[in-house]
């Protein structure tokens, strides 16, 4: 089983261990690759639903995941949005958290030392208001071998000044990804929004900027209104919608993404059953993110891994990637 190294290990020891672990992982029929990353299975905890990897440790060994994406970090601490932050709605979940996080300094001091125990691939999610925020984060975190890849959050719908402002404009996406590409050699996963007219345009822009994989997709922009006050429920008016009702929408986005690029795609959005995971892979996803499901059934990866393994066996395939459509 792939074991992640602690931040204090020497680089050569880490490399040797990585080579052996990678060999072990590749022997598994659920293993998958995202550029230079090798995952023991295609299940990835989605950013913002798994805190910094420790939240569910008493109910699920984090080592079961193919990878865990940490909560987005910004250069400065963010308290998050005031007022109501979540609301269950039409079988899904509206959220307006607002990138609440402790900021880069505290992330380095308090979070990074804990990441070596997660026993899985660790993806740091980077977020900001201007492009220099992303390059600053990448440059500072390059030194930590426990962070195996970066996810660029270009699609948070819940902050006014950033996120979506980058994520809806192909020109800005290409420029920003290009700048971060120059700042790091770690694999770059670019998380895009579904709230655009042309998925293919933003995907190709991320690819042109130097992305190693596309994460499709972030939440769908939604809202709710309080009938008693006549006003929007959330102080930011709009909020990100996730959970089972968005699955068909996300599946379409993933299918369009896979058609637009040869880069590996991490499909996510409303995935809540084994069948959903299978459909994401059939739509072209190399790996599948689980988000809201972590809130409702935090031990779901146990059953999903077993189900996927059985699926691959029943299909007579050597590896789950053989079942992916291209």
């Amino acid at each position: 089983m792939r074991r992640m190294s602690s931040s204090t290990d020497s680089q050569s020891a880490q490399n040797a261990r990585y080579a052996q672990d990678t060999q072990d992982v590749q022997d598994s029929r659920l293993s998958c690759t995202l550029g230079s990353l090798t995952l023991k299975n295609p299940l990835i905890a989605a950013s913002g639903t798994y805190a910094f990897g420790e939240a569910y440790r008493s109910v699920l060994d984090p080592g079961i995941w193919g990878a865990i994406t940490l909560k987005s970090v910004t250069p400065e601490p963010r308290p998050g949005n005031p007022g109501q932050r979540i609301r269950e709605c039409h079988g899904g979940l509206l959220n307006s958290i607002g990138l609440a996080n402790p900021g880069l300094d505290e992330f380095e001091k308090d979070i990074i030392p804990l990441l070596g125990d997660l026993d899985t691939v660790v993806i740091a999610s980077l977020a900001g208001s201007v492009s220099s925020d992303y390059t600053k984060l990448a440059a500072r975190l390059n030194q930590y071998a426990v962070i195996n890849a970066y996810e660029l959050n270009l699609s948070c719908p819940n902050v006014r000044e950033g996120g979506l402002a980058f994520g809806a404009d192909p020109t800005k996406i290409e420029a920003l990804v290009g700048q971060v590409r120059h700042a790091t050699s770690k694999p770059l996963l670019v998380k895009l929004t579904p709230n655009v007219t042309s998925i293919a345009d933003t995907v190709r822009a991320a690819e042109a900027g130097g992305a190693d994989a596309i994460v499709m997709c972030n939440t769908f922009l939604g809202m709710d209104i309080d009938l008693n006050t006549g006003r929007p429920v959330f102080e930011n008016t709009y909020a990100g919608f996730s959970g089972p009702p968005v699955f068909p929408l996300a599946l379409r986005c993933v299918h369009q993404t896979a058609a637009a690029t040869k880069l590996p795609v991490i499909g996510m959005g409303g995935v809540s059953t084994l069948e959903d995971v299978q459909k994401m892979i059939l739509a072209g996803a190399s790996a599948v993110g689980l988000g809201t499901l972590n809130f409702t059934r935090p031990d779901a990866p146990v059953e999903l891994c077993a189900g996927l393994d059985q699926w691959v066996a029943n299909k007579g395939a050597a590896n789950i990637q053989d079942l992916r459509s291209n």
Partner: protein, 279 residues
């Protein structure tokens, strides 16, 4: 690959029973598969595959018997989820139960403990009263309900040994508490109203009184104002819409005078003096 690390546990259990208490309230009893350390004021979340809602719903632990491992939850059937949880057909199937979650009441020795509950906010007070009585403490409860039909019988709210008053208005539970407090203060009992508390009690508890409350915001706000005026230490159990219950989603933030806190992992019980009551 379920994990043995310290912290909340996740089980899928068919309830032992669901008792109908009155027109609106039910008590669900579940036998946990193992001994857990659970404190008054902590909560669990419940989810049923048979109930078409997304998020698990939080419930304060109403009763907990470590010997039998029986945990009891007080459920007020007021929405789709809570009404269906109490349906006998649903309750024949396993529930996902996650807990114990959050931080409960800080129980310290005092001359007298006052519990104030409104509606389903009385739920954690039975467990709290039992814990206090086990430690030979003096306990009074003031409970308020929406109307006479809603009002739970006293023996359902607190264990024997509690001085209890019930009213049919959650807000007037605060008035009941004030009357209880006044009757105690005017007693010819020199030990009440003076500093005579155990060594490990909070030194600010100079009058030997502790107040704990759970209920509607308007009730808690009124009680907090009264306690602040009188210098009485008050712990309140607060409620917010919750997602994960474990600090991961950050959905249940609550503004305090020292910044926002997550009620699931840093609450749900807070010292009333830190809460921004007007936020």
């Amino acid at each position: 690959m379920l994990c043995g690390a310290q912290g909340p546990k996740l089980y899928r259990i068919i309830p032992e029973s669901v008792d109908r208490l009155n027109q609106r309230f039910y008590r669900m009893n579940l036998i946990l598969p193992e001994q857990l350390s659970i404190h008054p004021g902590q909560f669990v979340t419940l989810k049923s595959e048979k109930v078409p809602v997304l998020l698990p719903r939080p419930f304060c632990v109403h009763r907990w018997d470590p010997q039998s491992r029986r945990i009891s939850l007080l459920i007020e059937a007021r929405g789709t989820a809570t009404a269906m949880f109490c349906d006998s057909d649903v309750a024949r199937h396993p529930f996902q139960i996650l807990g114990p979650l959050g931080h409960g009441f800080k129980v310290k020795p005092a001359q007298h403990h006052f519990l104030v509950g409104g509606g389903c906010g009385v739920a954690p007070l039975h467990f709290l009263a039992a814990e206090l009585l086990r430690n030979a403490q003096q306990v009074s409860l003031a409970a308020g309900f929406r109307d006479q039909e809603d009002a739970l019988a006293p023996e359902l709210i607190t264990p024997p040994g509690t001085a209890i008053n019930v009213t049919c208005n959650p807000v007037t539970a605060v008035d009941l508490f004030r009357e209880q407090l006044a009757s105690l203060s005017v007693r010819d009992d020199a030990t009440v109203g003076v500093s005579d508390v155990a060594d490990d009690a909070d030194p600010t508890d100079t009058n030997g009184v502790m107040v704990y409350a759970c209920g509607p915001h308007v009730m808690l706000k009124s009680l907090a104002a009264f306690c602040r005026e009188r210098g009485l230490p008050l712990q309140v159990s607060l409620e917010r819409m919750m997602g994960c219950g474990m600090g991961a989603c950050q959905g249940c933030s609550c503004g305090t005078k020292t910044g926002s806190v997550l009620l699931c992992s840093e609450g749900p019980v807070l010292d009333a003096t830190v809460v921004n009551w007007d936020a």
